[in-house]
């Protein structure tokens, strides 16, 4: 399946979804005015991914966001819901939630997502 690469910009994050190299990453800032359009290819990609069998069932989904707006926070939840679906299809998904050591709000945001979805979250500092 074709990987998805989106270059990071000042208001949208860098995105890598690559099942060949087993790399899944969102990093940077997510402040798009129209979050639905921005994240629509990501959600589509995850839908297709859910139908694929992969050599290594371990999916480590890295989130390294500096900050995100409230519209993006809804779309992140949609992404995590899709990832939850992957677990049902035999893939073992872990969300690696990165936050800078002095950023309590980002840690808190990660902890809240982990309460909202049935996924394994690893909180990591960078």
């Amino acid at each position: 399946m074709e990987p998805l690469f989106l270059e990071g910009k000042e208001d949208t994050p860098k995105i890598i979804l690559n099942s060949q190299s087993n790399q899944y990453l969102i990093s940077g800032r997510s402040l798009p005015e129209d979050a639905t359009s921005f994240y629509s290819p990501v959600l589509k990609w995850l839908d297709e991914f859910s139908t694929q069998t992969v050599a290594d069932p371990n999916v480590k989904f890295e989130v390294r966001l500096e900050y995100f707006n409230t519209a993006s926070s809804k779309l992140l939840l949609d992404i995590f819901s899709k990832l939850e679906g992957l677990s049902e299809n035999g893939k073992k998904v872990t969300v690696q939630w990165y936050y800078s050591e002095d950023d309590e709000d980002m840690l808190e945001a990660g902890e809240e997502y982990s309460e909202l979805v049935d996924l394994k979250f690893e909180m990591k500092t960078y």
């Binding site: 402040l31 129209d34 900050y67 409230t70 519209a71 926070s73 809804k74 800078s100 309590e104 809240e112």
Partner: protein
């Protein structure tokens, strides 16, 4: 005759003194777009580099600025008829003692004032636990509307700052009011 001495008598120095005295870091009036938001964030980032506050506080200021600008761009009303048409949106960032203050102003239709006011009062009445529950309820239960909003902006700001909103509605004419919102962000947290 209009009394615009700052312009006609080259009194920008006085304006500068006034803004410095009031500790106003940033003042913008006009059209609120995504490009403007990027510009404001860039400017604020540079200015904040010189201010001795924690990264956590700086991020709170950015967070609140982003939500404020996107709230205005998505929800403010516009009028083509004077007097209301003269009232454009405004954003101000400043600091007083141990607090940053972000103030915004924009037009709102009179018919929306009551329900909006009750929303602010409801948010102001909640504890941090109550705000967290409301946030979760909205993020799980609501979808983005046609403007790309989800109604989380104010709840998010209240949670991040831990402060109550100050606000006022000034009636301009039969159809419109001017809505002012003031948000405090502690420099110490």
């Amino acid at each position: 005759m209009e009394n615009n001495e700052i312009l006609t008598k080259s009194m920008i120095y006085d304006l500068f003194k006034e803004m410095t005295k009031e500790n106003i870091t940033l003042l913008y009036q006009g059209d609120f777009s995504q490009n403007l938001m990027k510009a404001i964030l860039g400017l604020t980032e540079k200015k904040m580099d010189n201010i001795e506050v924690s990264t956590n506080v700086k991020k709170k200021v950015f967070n609140v600025l982003v939500e404020c600008v996107q709230n205005i761009s998505k929800h403010s009303d516009e009028s083509k008829e004077p007097p209301a048409s003269k009232f454009t949106s405004i954003l101000m960032l400043g600091s007083v003692n141990d607090q940053f203050i972000i103030s915004t102003g924009n037009l709102i239709e009179n018919k929306k004032v009551e329900s909006f006011k009750s929303k602010i009062l409801m948010i102001n009445s909640l504890t941090s636990e109550g705000l967290k529950n409301l946030y979760k309820k909205i993020i799980v239960g609501h979808s983005l509307d046609e403007k790309g909003g989800i109604g989380l902006g104010l709840v998010h700001i209240a949670r991040k700052t831990g402060e109550k909103f100050e606000y006022r509605f000034d009636k301009i004419d039969e159809q419109y009011s001017y809505f002012t919102l003031k948000v405090n962000i502690s420099k110490i947290k």
